[in-house]
């Protein structure tokens, strides 16, 4: 075909390319002018957050405004990205070297991948910063002795329950061991409510049951070692699976749990608790907010209570240890020094107080914890402050790849399709894919 094509046609094709390119670029051309005209003394930084419109986003808007005002010449351009779209957009930005200067960091395996690709800056904290940020939360953002993100809040996991339903079922005190929890499940069944709601459609809420059993069965050293080797050979991992399998025998979850979502709609696990259709739910500290949005009047559930995951008799893990998530922010390696100042500003006490109020969460700055007043969050906070140590959610800790496989394997076990050995072997198989 090429032999027959005259040069004119090729030239025309080239012209077509130029025309198309010109058409494409004409739209974006004008917007670039703004940056280049700025003088040398001023700094413009980009800032990506996953905060959703509402009090959370308003908090960040106000924080950016007051930081800009206090630092003449500094302009922060904030972009709020929907949480589920966030990872994809960030990944594209990282791949095309247009990383935002300041960006929301999920931590765990994702952060490890960014560190390995030299796409996130190590941070050096001053003594004042160290005092502002709790050491336990900072440990979750540390890799090989270097800090790669500043945490803003902690989301410890525990069991949220309806005090009214517990009273109706004749349960007088919250369970502290798994046998006690099993007895309470039987009592809740007797009053015809689902004892425990779980959103297995999203996989991770179901897998968190396994993770918490593992937290009780495995020592801290074993769990941390698995983070780097991704080998689950210690017998405690199997024991945790056996514990979960034994717990499943009493059918503690609501019917149809496999196709129940965690947080969306009245039929979700949070919705079941919000509407008194289920007694308990194992969830992170964001749950009161989620439940509040699903009650009939969209107000916080008045009889909501909280207790930590019960102890497992004979386990090697600290019974006070807690699992949870941490929301942090990282810097691009090319970020100006003002970007770090903004992170320092965010963990200062007044900002942390505003943050905790806006997000209904537990701030990392202990001096700001006074704003946490509702009884549910206070009990979670007290348990957190007493915890021997905290672990990141294992699916974050071990990276999305292994985490996903673990999640799926646990769901298989719940559905009666998989085995305890399958949980351990699936993690090994997944490690081969990544």
């Amino acid at each position: 075909m090429m032999k027959k094509t005259p040069a004119a046609a090729i030239a025309a094709l080239g012209l077509g390319v130029v025309l198309a390119a010109a058409a494409c670029s004409s739209g974006g051309g004008s917007s670039n002018g703004g940056n280049s005209s700025s003088s040398t003394s001023s700094v413009t930084m980009t800032f990506w957050t996953n905060a959703t419109p509402g009090p959370g986003l308003t908090f960040f808007q106000n924080a950016v405004k007051s930081f800009d005002a206090a630092h003449p010449g500094v302009t922060i351009k904030m972009q709020a990205i929907q949480n589920e779209d966030y990872d994809g957009k960030l990944q594209t930005a990282l791949a095309s070297n247009s990383t935002p200067d300041i960006f929301f960091q999920r931590g765990g395996g994702k952060m490890l991948a960014m560190v390995n690709a030299n796409q996130v800056a190590p941070l050096t904290l001053s003594a004042a910063d160290q005092a502002n940020v709790s050491a336990a939360a900072l440990a979750g953002e540390t890799l090989n002795g270097k800090i790669y993100a500043i945490p803003l809040d902690q989301q410890p996991e525990g069991i949220y329950y309806s005090k009214d339903l517990f009273k109706q079922a004749g349960i007088t005190s919250t369970p502290t061991t798994i046998p006690e929890l099993e007895a309470d499940v039987a009592k809740l069944k007797a009053i015809n409510v689902a004892p425990i709601a779980v959103g297995a459609k999203d996989a991770w809420p179901a897998a968190h049951w396994y993770y918490n059993f593992a937290l009780r069965e495995c020592s801290q050293a074993t769990m941390n070692a698995a983070g780097t080797t991704l080998k689950f050979t210690d017998p405690c991992w199997t024991k945790a699976g056996d514990d979960l399998a034994a717990f499943l025998k009493i059918n503690p979850f609501q019917p149809g749990f496999l196709t129940t979502a965690a947080q969306v709609g009245a039929g979700s696990s949070a919705g079941l608790v919000a509407n008194h259709k289920a007694g308990m739910e194992l969830m992170g500290a964001w749950d009161p907010g989620t439940i509040a949005s699903l009650t009939p009047n969209q107000k916080p559930l008045p009889d909501l209570g909280w207790f930590p995951f019960p102890a497992v008799p004979g386990g090697a893990g600290d019974p006070s240890a807690m699992m949870g998530g941490i929301d942090g922010y990282s810097l691009s390696p090319n970020a100006p020094k003002e970007a770090f100042q903004f992170l320092e500003f965010l963990v200062s006490t007044p900002q942390q107080k505003a943050y905790a109020t806006a997000f209904i969460t537990l701030p990392v700055n202990k001096a700001a914890q006074s704003v946490v007043t509702d009884s549910v969050s206070v009990s979670a906070l007290q348990a957190l402050n007493k915890a021997g140590y905290t672990m990141q959610f294992l699916d974050t800790q071990y990276g999305q790849n292994v985490g996903n496989a673990l999640n799926a394997a646990v769901v298989n076990l719940l559905a009666g399709k998989g085995t305890v050995a399958g949980i351990v072997s699936s993690a090994t198989e997944a490690a081969a894919k990544g």
């Binding site: 075909m1 094509t5 005259p6 004119a8 046609a9 090729i10 030239a11 025309a12 094709l13 012209l15 077509g16 390319v17 025309l19 198309a20 994809g88 990944q91 990282l94 791949a95 395996g109 994702k110 991948a113 960014m114 390995n116 690709a117 030299n118 796409q119 297995a200 459609k201 999203d202 996989a203 019917p255 149809g256 749990f257 496999l258 196709t259 129940t260 979502a261 039929g267 990276g399 999305q400 790849n401 996903n404 496989a405 999640n407 799926a408 769901v411 298989n412 559905a415 399709k417 998989g418 198989e429 997944a430 081969a432 894919k433 990544g434």
Partner: protein
């Protein structure tokens, strides 16, 4: 193929142009030849100019990503920075030994076969029925076609709500005294695939019926009239005249159905979510790719799965064209009647 199309188009345009200019240039053949040559060059120029945006878009958004996926498929790559960890065919070895992928492939195969077996006869029967002069025919045609028009996301969300254990379907069964039929439609691995087939049939039958109806319109009435005069019964006419003449339509529909079934993604993704389709026994190659590639952050591995999917679809499509559709390209109408 584009080459033949192009020359055919050029020829046709040139002939048209010549006819117009014929009388004027009849006396001097040499300038005419030169004009033709110049015209040919201009036309090539025009074609190149006009097709280049489409070619750029096609190459940039279809061909280039396919090549890139093939490239990434040879690496273990998390999507951060350029890929560096070359594993050769390592990803492909894992794909073909992964029981989860084998199950997904099996589900795809089942969906391909069941779609053909369930939808095909049903669509032909419905088309025959709707080809009769019955009351409310237009309304029924519209109603059958409506599910096809509704977005997959809406269908998926609607069914996943209705088919919950405590959903509308089980409630309805209880209230009409068929409570014993109520079951966990979505989560029970023995039933879930059949539930999916039910939804797929409901969703796509309208498309098949419309295609068949269009095929029926093109069959000349004279043939069946002649057969009826010769004493053929209604079913004999359908069996020996309508069905063979409908052959090309059926084969094209089957082709579209097979390709659609191999690439099924949206309905499963909406109803069973991102994680549990494997557990429920409804995973497909595409959901496997989304779970193990994008969601797990293994972009290299996911690209390899995409390449496998592409090759499976390509091989099936080429085999189908070579062995089934070829007769249509040679004029199946006369063959069908024989």
């Amino acid at each position: 193929m584009s080459e033949t199309l192009r020359t055919a188009a050029v020829g046709r345009i040139r002939r048209g142009a010549l006819q117009v200019g014929d009388a004027a240039h009849a006396a001097s053949p040499t300038p005419r030849a030169r004009a033709r040559k110049r015209g040919r060059g201009r036309q090539r120029l025009e074609i190149a100019l006009l097709t280049s945006p489409a070619i750029i878009v096609f190459v940039g958004l279809v061909i280039f990503p396919v090549v890139l996926a093939a490239y990434y498929g040879f690496y273990k790559w998390q999507g951060y920075g350029p890929p560096t960890d070359w594993v050769g065919l390592g990803n492909y070895k894992i794909i073909f030994t992964d029981p989860a992928f084998q199950q997904a492939l099996e589900h795809n195969g089942l969906i391909v076969v069941l779609s053909l077996v369930i939808q095909g006869p049903l669509a032909i029967l419905l088309a025959l029925l709707l080809n009769q002069k019955i009351r409310g025919r237009a309304l029924i045609r519209v109603l059958i076609f409506v599910p096809y028009v509704i977005s997959e996301v809406i269908v998926g969300t609607g069914f996943s709500l209705m088919l919950q254990v405590t959903g509308a379907v089980n409630d309805a069964l209880h209230s009409i005294g068929l409570g014993f039929l109520a079951t966990d439609w979505l989560a029970d691995p023995n039933i879930a695939l059949w539930t999916l087939m039910g939804i797929i049939t409901w969703k796509y039958i309208g498309f098949a019926v419309i295609l068949m109806l269009a095929g029926l319109q093109s069959i000349p009435d004279e043939l069946s009239e002649a057969a009826r005069i010769d004493g053929a019964s209604y079913w004999q006419v359908q069996r020996h005249i309508t069905l063979p003449l409908l052959g090309p339509t059926i084969r094209i529909w089957a082709f579209l159905s097979i390709i659609g079934a191999l690439q099924l993604f949206d309905l499963v993704y909406i109803i069973w979510g991102q994680y549990i389709s494997g557990t429920a026994g409804t995973s497909t190659m595409a959901t496997y790719m989304a779970l193990n590639g994008r969601l797990a952050g293994n972009y290299g591995y996911g690209s390899a799965v995409a390449v496998v999917m592409f090759l499976v679809s390509l091989v099936v499509a080429l085999c189908y064209q070579r062995f089934v559709l070829r007769r249509d390209l040679r004029g199946a109408v006369t063959q069908g009647v024989n």
